[in-house]
Symmetry: C2
Subunit: 732 residues, 2 copies
Amino acid sequence: MDLLDEPVPGVGTYEDFNTIDWVREKSKDRDRHREIATKSKESALALMKSISDAFSGWLLMLLVGLMSGALAGGIDISAHWMTDLKEGVCLNGFWFNHEHCCWNSNETTFQERDKCPNWKSWAELIVGTNEGPFAYIMNYLMYVCWALLFSFLAVSLVRAFAPYACGSGIPEIKTILSGFIIRGYLGKWTLMIKTITLVLAVSSGLSLGKEGPLVHVACCCGNILCHLFTKYRKNEAKRREVLSAAAAVGVSVAFGAPIGGVLFSLEEVSYYFPLKTLWRSFFAALVAAFTLRSINPFGNSRLVLFYVEFHSPWHLLELIPFVLLGIFGGIWGTTRLGHYPVLEVLFVTAVTALLAFPNSYTRMSTSELISELFNDCGLLDSSQLCNYANVSVTKSSSDALPDRPAGQDVYTAMWQLSLALVFKMLITVVTFGMKVPSGLFIPSMAVGAIAGRLLGVGMEQLAYYHHDWVIFRGWCSPGADCITPGLYAMVGATACLGGVTRMTVSLVVIMFELTGGLEYIVPLMAATMTSKWVADALGREGIYEAHIRLNGYPFLESKEEFSHKTLAMDVMRPRRSDPPLSVITQDGMSVEEVESLIAETSYSGFPVVVSHESQRLVGFVQRRDLVISIENARQRQEGVVSASRIFFTEYTPPQPPNSPPPLKLRGIMDLSPFTVTDHTAMDIVVDIFRKLGLRQCLVTHNGRLLGIITKKDILKHMAQMANRDPDSILFN
Amino acid sequence: MDLLDEPVPGVGTYEDFNTIDWVREKSKDRDRHREIATKSKESALALMKSISDAFSGWLLMLLVGLMSGALAGGIDISAHWMTDLKEGVCLNGFWFNHEHCCWNSNETTFQERDKCPNWKSWAELIVGTNEGPFAYIMNYLMYVCWALLFSFLAVSLVRAFAPYACGSGIPEIKTILSGFIIRGYLGKWTLMIKTITLVLAVSSGLSLGKEGPLVHVACCCGNILCHLFTKYRKNEAKRREVLSAAAAVGVSVAFGAPIGGVLFSLEEVSYYFPLKTLWRSFFAALVAAFTLRSINPFGNSRLVLFYVEFHSPWHLLELIPFVLLGIFGGIWGTTRLGHYPVLEVLFVTAVTALLAFPNSYTRMSTSELISELFNDCGLLDSSQLCNYANVSVTKSSSDALPDRPAGQDVYTAMWQLSLALVFKMLITVVTFGMKVPSGLFIPSMAVGAIAGRLLGVGMEQLAYYHHDWVIFRGWCSPGADCITPGLYAMVGATACLGGVTRMTVSLVVIMFELTGGLEYIVPLMAATMTSKWVADALGREGIYEAHIRLNGYPFLESKEEFSHKTLAMDVMRPRRSDPPLSVITQDGMSVEEVESLIAETSYSGFPVVVSHESQRLVGFVQRRDLVISIENARQRQEGVVSASRIFFTEYTPPQPPNSPPPLKLRGIMDLSPFTVTDHTAMDIVVDIFRKLGLRQCLVTHNGRLLGIITKKDILKHMAQMANRDPDSILFN
């Protein structure tokens, strides 16, 4: 009766594009665990085995953390190098990137990097000079050519070897974590191709980020490493626990925010997230973050992606611009990204490169741009954005600088940033539909950060020149440091990211980990809340949900309440006009009859009843298990022929002398199928499906079997109720 | 059929010490929501109502945050004042505490506080001097007297007015959140008395903290404020969402750690924690933290309880002492706290006060002690613990100080701390059983912090004098700052707190919020993990679970896996030898028969079947609803007498002419009772009960009703399986 002892191979497994039965999987794991625990009392070897089994989860987490951290580090370094390769090459060795090349030269500050003697731009290398329009055009051309080469390679590799490697992968991972099976989506080929093409796509300068795909990469690592441990290899539910943790690892290495990563996995991607997984995810996320930091020799030795330090507090009135940024983010979040599957990747790359090169803010990598926008201008900062007129600083003890009038460079920067904003917004919309690995986090953050910085500088100058206005009085007196444009950029980035993904707590926590200051949580929270509300009010779904629906994945959203007053009998099949439910009787059918039932229908399982007349339910049998068992019996079990009777009862009655031997199949029957009554409200049924992770549920009326509800029936019903096409639910 | 439209009052409510039916409550709320949403399309007023309904949750969260923050601030200030009152009084006004009294005097540093002229110790006030043994004894006596007075008041108030106010309240809150009803536990009387007695108990110098009880205080606020909104007042499930958020608020104000508070609620206390609650808890926790900060005029304007800033990184080898601290914490966590319900509170208070006064580390309030132990000694620090011999500092640019040899004062402090450790450990074990509000967080942290600091200073001196040892070589060279005793104290505190409560992620996050540095997460995590593993290995339960079990509350632990291979038929009632299940037939019984069934049994509900012969299930009816409905019908409905027949069917068949009018009760019947088959494995049944929050579940075999399993049956079965007394489950 125990599936584990069942000798027939294949029974209890799933086909591709099917949904797993969480209850069965978890029950199987408990059986396995019980067996090990019982045996452990018998011998020392078994005890060792039991202990190693208990610790295998932690070991696996360690490995996932190490592998993902190492891969993220590799991607980081390669992308850095290839991004710089578009501009020039290092004479010390072509494998050095710009920063590394100039590491030991005397001019090490960021602003003087162009003067480092060993780093040659392409024009310098080819025509010997970097001056004049010819050299500029030379550099321009090389930049575009490299970009085209990278994106061509990326697209070709994805198309040829791993079509699953495109996009961010987060919607599919959500679907997989909810119990769907997509074979190969987290396989080694996908991992390899995704890693390589991610580097290529990021380096090509397209408006996409590597943060989302890193979640996919980490999940691939988790899935592949699961194969090392029987416990996780053989159990779909246990494997999904590991994948949930891997998703946390992905965000942890993407932003250097382990706590935020765990919350992201909990809030955004995971379906089944027991407390044990919370704790293990946290461990894996930390391991990954530290691995990444220790192998990244070019980093600033900070754990986080964008390190920010603000010196001045914010004022309550500033909540108004913050809420405005939230509204902007919400509107950005409703942009229909990725609805334009662009085939002409090379064309988009060419346009991106051509338009990006002349503007220094679009030419630099997007994460560099965000870093610069978040930055709070210090006294010694010599970047264009920090070119303020110097006013005598009165109180030198404080870290904070008073607000100052903007210099000419700041105005130039404002123009460039405005153009960059328009460019980024347009090009991101187009880029996201392309068949390359592409994340949305960084482009969205860039859009928000630019808008925020623009607003911040505007506010700052307004406050400087009009500090006598009522709203600024007492707060922005001359010589006071009252507005931090970097904070505005951060709030804007948060708002846009929140609008697109509808993340809430995890987003605020990620941002909190970047600044480390609890003070700035309130602005971030105000922006996140506003952007979520605005986006929800304008169009209900986040980008992941939209993508899942577009692809017709069978995903039962746990955030959305089902609020219609329908009953189980309205949803179940067969409908009133349909032929009755296909059932198998526990002792009345021959192999032939069952085979013809299987051939005539395409249901993935059949209820077993006492008799057709009573319709009293005995159990449920999976189509796949039935097919495999009958086939197996016909091949191996002597004498099982078409006329053999199939028994699902505990004891087989004595057969007439000349009849063929019976086939006993109680072992493959689920003796505890879930049932609800026909009067059960659908909101309760939906709740049961979500919480328990069911595939199907049988419907009874006064104890008689009446019909069946599958996950797909529920999704179709929900689509119908929301006035969408119920046939958009494609799988399973 | 809708319970909301049911005119009989009381139907659908619960009695005290009963468990709610989560499915029914959530379904009720969805009905309510649906009704409002439908009406909102009809008129502008209804639309307004619908919008205000949607925002009422946020408003409630805001109020809970404000009220809890304000109360926590009040408790803080009062406890500060009364603690100081034990030592002396302010001449400017008796309502000033020591710090506030000396605020404007010239000697404002902590060390010179005794010289502040306006603050008079009791000896100074009475005999005019603070010198000599007589004055010392005078102060000593006053200290003990005040302590006795405070603890006497605390105990008397709790005993007289609110017996629920004692202890930390967290185990009971866990039980309430899981669906149990304890009327008055979160009422206004409990709130009032708990707030007052908490201040008294903390001020009396007993070895207890205010952090745990603050969770109870915040939950009381949440429960009381729920009464302002019908949505939350009338729905037990919705109210528990608010209480989950309130628990987060409690920890947020206790430690100034909003994120940690939310995770504490999620990991430790909550049962049903949807994502919406996560987001709202976070909001409430932030509001509360900022409220607390803004009303606390004596604070350091930091949000957090213990602000720590460490300057030097830790070395990988230091993980060994950290793990040792973890083991210590784990062993401390298995101490049988609170198993000694001490009645002689005054005796304990007297002993505590008498022993605490002579040692400056036990005389100061425990949170001051922890603050001092966490502190990293700076150059200007003049406390006893920082009395290091001055070695010429070579690199003045760095914040970090090199390791130095300890001065005489440090050795004195070590002795005093060792004595304090023994004292704290012994007295905390005794104190926790007392009938006053008492938290375990702070005393446990103090024990760990003392042990950690001792070990830290030991390591530091070892490294200083033996920096040529292999383990210190290359890391603790002379002049290097290699060991931070404050970090050891922090790790020790974390380990002990983790051992007692078995918190994991939330604990690490709370500590992370205190330091703000991701770097120190690894030591904290190592200690937390070790302490949890050690404590789990030595004795399975945390303090809250132990307390719940001791009190016999019906709490279904979600962390513990049920791993026995029993089936539903082994657990269900009636057992094989018992009389058959008490059922009601859908159309065959008279009022009299049902009344006698109710009188003869004490079951809280009855299954309704088609007929006794078929045993086919129709629905389930609650005893309470049945009693109320019959009583109501007898009083109001004309002609309903004992001979009237009760119908649960949809249509009542025509009655014979002279028979009394029938009683139709389909409206109070649950048409969708949960059923499982008798062959369902108990691990699945336990899972269903946990996930769906059921009160009872019916058991069928081949479509016939066979028995019933209640939550109490499951708990009894689990107790039996764990070789505990199944009769220890007392309620419901």
